[in-house]
Symmetry: D2
Subunit: 351 residues, 4 copies
């Protein structure tokens, strides 16, 4: 019963097999091997973007920070939601890689940037000229950090505003596959067809060992990206082991199958929790991450049985209190979550 | 016959087995798993440094740049050899991670910093006060980038000068094991017992998939290092796959066996080349990397047979010329180089 | 009738005389002249802080950014009000000088940070450890950017919270004298006696040509500050011309007289505007800066007569509209504002 | 007898008069005053560059660092002489403003970059692709830091090589006027007609109080420069006091007269020193800065009489020694050096 994070799950066996398969003989380093070129083509095909620049790195923070540094100047700002990973969970990596660009926080319900609020911020940003930080990029996260999904319409609405103000657009897709599966759309539809310029395409949380792709639909800054990646210490020498993961991930739709499973487990959890007496959802469940509460007694039983998940927010979980006190939590399912675990967990929290 | 680089070799089977072994069930991310704590203790034991702060990252550039950024302030300089990796091969990563520290190049024969030259630079650095870049760190590389070895005495001589001037000391040990095996010393002797404050302890080139440890013998800046690592995008979420590599690497002396083999292959190559008519060594061969020349005709035969290695320096390899023209090359052996390959190569270059 | 900004006023004649006075013969550069040492002592005396480190720079942005860079690490955040100069008007200078620290915006009425909001942000900042930006500094502005004054109690309340969380404290005193005069307190009371660690002590807006002092009450980081200043290009070679301004500014209480006059002119304006039919204050007037509105017709008359001031916010000033439409403005008085100008202006806007 | 530095001299009376003249009434801040626009046009005229972007800052370090940051990317290098101000005397300001670009030191006699050495460095820089720092800018200093002059031919030879490799070109003209007067050429000839892209045009050392112009002959990056300047804290609010200095400096050829005088005093000194028994020049004297030696006895007499200058290099001036020991010094003349002072000094050192 492990719902703490999808990055606590192991790698899928096919990922490991792929690593084993490439572990033979000599290859050029730093991406200069045939497998890497092949996997870059696979990604271009998946995104229907034959000209895109495609790179692999080992962490989502690196993917986001490098992509944003390539999109914005140091004196510009990145518009993002207050709950976004780049604001909350990267210890200032975007500020470091951009040499001090700002993050402008735009509120919005359910972890999604409100279009009016964005327009209003975009409008006033830089209006006093040289004294102000300038407009830079918009960064969306899908699946959002509170487990909700931007619809294609919502993405388009925001990117249209961005284009109007000359603002570049980035998608943090740490859970790209989960969002896409939830939307039932293609990778192209969720990105460039909806106005996205650059994507962090996550593999790690959805069954890889540690690999994320950065896709720049406009390859103009490809060389700059390569220099930034090297300079950031993110150009792996034995690059084949990144490529091998991504190749297995994309082959035969493995990535989609894994995300479907994770989302299905999320649905199962949500359905069950809705029946728990006193349960309450902070945000609608739409993929593989749930933010919801149920009575303290149910938490006690689940935790006693070894269930792992984060109290959320932690500060609001006093150690003692009445049995029926509502305590909220974050639950994350993954490719390796089993229906049995979900069922057992639901039983426990229902008391 | 692949002598282009030790990072073109695959990972050792025991590394892959270890990855497979940890690929089971859920674990805490970001280093919060039992295996990581265990491997950090293993490294402390290997270095006889129970208080050292120990971290794993995926690239040597990250290890060097993060270690240096922790040791020096932005207005300080890193004294290093002109051929050092941090100067030549990291696209300015140290400058980026330190926020603009300088690298002061100190000459010296055979890729090793000359002690008198270092003392003289250390003395004048910062002597005009606030107008000058200040003294920061000394960075040595062992095995050097030209394949030679600093003796323990040479290391001590340099670190004693460093201490005299309040200069911190860093060892780039991308080929740590090869140097240690060549010296026949312990890890502690090659580092803190010889005055080294921080080490980049390489695993990748010597049989891992992609893992380097940073060891800070003075743990005072441990927390700063952790923040810098995270901010640099170098904190892996599924950290167990770094730890697993390092654990296998250190278990039963695998790392030492692999380095011994690589060095032995280097010796074999060197011995053979010395017998090639017209051959000449640019630097003494002391570990697993050779810089030497032999007649153009031998190059032609080897390359026709598919031998892979770098002309060095490339610029000095005109495409055509007399058969007996001396052309120099860099040859690197690794844990996976076979005596058969060496023998075949020697036969070819001997014409 | 010039109420656009106090930095549009000329320098006071005594400042110019002082410049003239030091313009004789040779002196050591970079602060190594007797006058500079003298003026640094004067500042220490003014602040009753014999051990303080004291430096002069030419702009308020430099003073703020250098002070903050000395107080916070790159992975920390500066808590400040959304209207603060460091957030709104410095094009990211704090982010640049700190190498990417964040600014965390804390709301509060009348341009002043709300204590409860600060405490709550301070508490959650960094609570997820290495993933989060860490606590760094609190920056207050007095006079605030909306013309109001933090009382000594308000300052103390905030700095006490800061100390509780290990947060350093900075005061942006671009209008230090105006605030102090309004509070009727001493420089020490407004700063270190109220828990402030570092001050940007403005001279430019209050009658100098271009000089601001940075005062670090804890001199531990004095040398770091000097290196940062030099590295930022802010160490003037002919430093005597900075010192001369500051010396005249502090002599015979000139700075206090000038601020008293500016504030008195602010009072006069406010008193008059309160009588204008339909006028409304956005914030209480407490020093030399007013944010208030009056009918469009009054704006038209004043502007036709050449009055200069900023519509505030500009976006809300449509070019046409009904005569009695309330349009707000920012009005700033200075040492050189005359009662005649104020009287004339009041007449005009009253229609 | 003050020969320590030209920045120890006072400002010329006409500079002070100009400051006094503009110290009247209100003007727009941050360069938005008529005087500033006028002086920018004057500079464009002086340089015969009607499209140039022109900015004023207060220090030479700011001028150099901002200009270079606008010319190079963080992953590029600035080719410069080891004695250059940007390498030796700015505490890493170029590294700070460029976010970690490198400075590649190119040797050459008499403080001037050797063309062959430059070509050879330019050629190998970046040749290993993404692993290497890339080519960025060439920075020349005229007058050089050892008091010599690049001829127009020498400048052209270097800038032609630069263009061949796509390298931008910068001139550090802290002593621009002294070089120009020595060359007997026009500002345009010394800069864009000789292939220079950007100039730091010094005023401070040659009689101003503290003002340097940056001239970008290609105005494409003008807006970027403005943002960098603001972000660096180098946009003065009461900008009229920068403009006023520069206006007086350029009016009626004052700048040329002052430089001619300073150089003439340099000539006078050099002529006299050549006659001193045992004297020796380290570098040819060509403008207002001399590096030469004479016997210890002459130093003793001059210093006893209050002469001020720097022993150079300081380390080589042991406190005691034989009377005829050759001790070298740096002597700098300025607009305010008098023939009487020179004569007296020569008498003294001649013993």
């Amino acid at each position: 019963m492990y719902f703490a994070s999808d990055n606590s799950a192991p790698a899928h066996p096919k990922i490991m097999e792929s690593l084993q398969r490439v572990n033979e003989g000599y290859t050029g380093g730093y991406g200069g091997d045939g497998g890497t070129n092949h996997v870059r083509d696979m990604i271009r095909e998946v995104f229907e973007a034959p000209d895109a620049a495609v790179y692999l790195v080992t962490t989502g923070t690196a993917a986001n920070a490098l992509a944003l540094a390539t999109l914005v100047e140091p004196w510009q700002t990145v518009f993002c939601h207050p709950t976004s990973h780049i604001e909350e969970d990267e210890c200032g990596a975007p500020e470091f890689f951009t040499n001090g660009a700002k993050l402008t926080l735009i509120e919005g319900a359910n972890g999604k940037i409100d279009a009016d609020a964005f327009r209003s911020h975009a409008k006033i940003t830089g209006q006093l000229g040289v004294h102000n930080i300038q407009r830079g990029a918009l960064s969306l996260t899908n699946v959002t950090e509170v487990g909700t999904i931007y619809t294609l319409d919502e993405i388009r609405t925001l990117t249209i505003i961005a284009k109007e103000f000359g603002i570049a657009t980035h998608l943090d897709g740490a859970r790209f596959a989960n969002a896409m599966v939830a939307l039932g759309c293609t990778p192209a539809e969720m990105t460039w067809k909806s106005g996205i310029d650059a994507v962090s395409f996550g593999g790690t949380k959805n069954g890889c060992m540690g690999v994320e792709a950065v896709v720049l639909f406009d390859p103009d800054k490809a060389w700059e990206f390569e220099l930034r990646r090297k300079r950031g210490g993110h150009l792996m020498s034995k690059y084949r082991y990144l490529s091998a993961q991504m190749e297995a991930y994309l082959t035969d739709g493995l990535w989609i199958k894994l995300a479907k499973h994770a989302n299905a487990m999320g649905d199962l959890l949500a359905t069950g929790i809705k029946d728990v007496k006193g349960a309450k959802f902070n945000h609608p469940q739409q993929a593989n991450m749930l933010f919801c509460g149920w009575p303290r007694s149910g938490h006690a039983l689940a935790q006693a049985a070894g269930a792992m998940y984060y109290a959320w927010p932690e500060a609001e979980h006093p150690e003692t209190g009445p049995d029926d006190e509502l305590l909220t939590a974050r639950l994350v399912t993954s490719w390796s979550t089993t229906p049995q675990d979900v069922a057992r967990f639901l039983e426990l929290i229902a008391g």
